[in-house]
Symmetry: C2
């Protein structure tokens, strides 16, 4: 039986190390001055393929090989960061990969996925792509890598917080965005081990709050349809049966309005000089709301996992539509 | 008599080292694959204050102190990166600084300058601000730091290329943007010493081509008025008498159209995940045009100095107005 504890993350960290970037932790002294707290950003936007997803996909494959279950072919269905992560991770282990996606995939994502050596199979609709992926994995030796609901993927994603906390030592709080729950689950387990006093907080758009609703109802709730959020990295319809119990254990969970996501996307790009995607910027509003709830005003040390930096061109246009830089951040 | 050779840059490098960031060199494997060459970006957008200007201001002050000419007060007139560089550099040496600027300075720039501890004096117009700065420097012990036309500033700016080439070894070409000519002058001298075979190339917007015209006419030409370019970092009206002779020695000089500046601003932000300002992105079009002129198609190693990452909110809006990510880069 598989388990999920800090041991899995320590093992994952050892496994993925040769294949991923050790991303930097960055800060803005200006932001820290304005808020009166120290905020450390783990810059996974500088990770290979531009997102933390590289960690989970790499750990999944590396563990399979380590345990003598080397896949003959790898398949995944995604139009986003997971597809690119699987494509690149598979190529690093010289395993052929096929990505099942829709015909609407952007040329730049398609080009990147193919550059990483994967075959890209496009279908008119998402259900058709999912169906084809499901059929493909019935072939002997073909392995499907799930986007979040698997302990090896969750452990891989947890290596980002593990790396960061190994460098930073203990902190008062750790923030991560929550889509399917893979990143936030791994972050929780890593944080409990390396910074046991830290509050671990998940963040989600109000407009895609299936995880918040699941925490309230005690069962996995789903979005009714594609959510109207700029934070496309967390537009996942529902948590998985492995991630949900961990999401329930988070110390706090904050739902963020679209306007605040956009505000922080502008500000974090400006202050950090990094191409921070809305999904990551969202957490900064979580930090502000959490800080306002704290009784003690003592200076806090806060870790934020900046999950990625892959921003569609039309999303960048949305981010910069109005001026938010004239309104300085404060608590 | 002051001179300007690699010795000054080596000295500057030693002087500024404790006060500045050693910025990373970044690459995009995808871009390198598409173009068939290896392009190395020196990420001065991750420098303190978000631009290379920190190097020149720091070297200027550090050298004054080293030679027993410690300023009692430092003044500068700028509404851009130079103001913030002087403000921060002065504070690092515990010297009071006053920045003369216009009332139209953006709140975020004003807040940053004041956070660095400088007094900000605002005037209705730029000539009034310049006049006040000129008067201020007549006081005993008050020193004005020029934005580019000074060997200590030029040597400081040259430390970016010096650092990069020390790491990279020899390259085939080095690209830098040209405004007042401080960065490109320092880059030329550093490159001649560390990579003598390298072509050193300056880049300028067609819409602000005073330096290109100066190279053609053999005397310093000025812009007629504020230029219509998105590359605000190189909107300087003219070269200085110290930078002009060095700009004349550049191996090539490329004038870039606005549409190409915007194209590369989108692409470099996307590929490098860095907040690259248009002035820096401009050089990538210079690289493409230069590569097309080369007779041999052998794989080239190219260094590009990404000068900074300070982008006004309305400039970001301009950058992302149209979609360029659907058109993949190629030669």
């Amino acid at each position: 039986m598989q388990t999920f504890s800090i041991q899995e993350i320590v093992q994952a960290s050892r496994r993925v190390k040769p294949f991923i970037h050790h991303t930097p932790i960055v800060s803005s002294s200006l932001l820290n001055q304005w808020l009166g707290h120290d905020i450390f950003f783990k810059a996974e936007c500088l990770q290979k393929i531009g997102a933390f997803k590289m960690r989970g996909a790499t750990n999944f494959i590396a563990r399979s090989i380590e345990e003598g279950r080397r896949p003959k072919r790898i398949v995944a269905n995604s139009s986003g960061n997971h597809a690119q992560a699987v494509a690149l991770a598979a190529s690093l282990f010289d395993i052929p990969a096929t990505i099942f996606t829709t015909e609407s995939v952007s040329p730049v994502k398609a080009a990147a996925t193919e550059y990483y050596g994967a075959e890209l199979r496009k279908f008119p609709t998402r259900p058709e792509a999912d169906q084809a992926a499901q059929e493909a994995q019935t072939e002997a030796g073909t392995v499907w890598i799930p986007p979040f609901n698997h302990y090896d993927v969750m452990a891989g994603q947890g290596t980002a917080a593990y790396e960061a906390l190994t460098e930073l030592g203990e902190v008062d709080a750790v923030f991560a965005p929550c889509g399917g729950g893979g990143l936030v689950s791994g972050t929780l387990v890593a944080s409990r081990a390396l910074s046991p006093q830290a509050q671990v907080v998940g963040c989600e758009p109000v407009a895609a709050n299936d995880a918040a609703r699941s925490r309230r109802s005690g069962k996995i709730e789903s979005l009714d349809g594609p959510p109207a959020t700029i934070a496309d990295g967390v537009a996942t319809p529902s948590l998985g049966d492995l991630t949900f119990p961990l999401v329930q254990q988070l110390d706090d969970f904050i739902e963020v309005e679209e306007a605040h996501i956009i505000y922080w996307a502008q500000w974090l790009q400006h202050l950090l000089k990094l191409h921070v995607e809305p999904t990551s910027a969202m957490c900064m509003q979580g930090v502000v709301q959490w800080l306002k709830q704290q009784e003690s005003s003592s200076r806090k040390r806060i870790l934020v996992i900046l999950s990625g930096g892959n921003i569609a061109e039309k999303t960048s246009r949305q981010i910069w539509q109005d001026d938010h830089l004239s309104q300085l951040p404060s608590l």
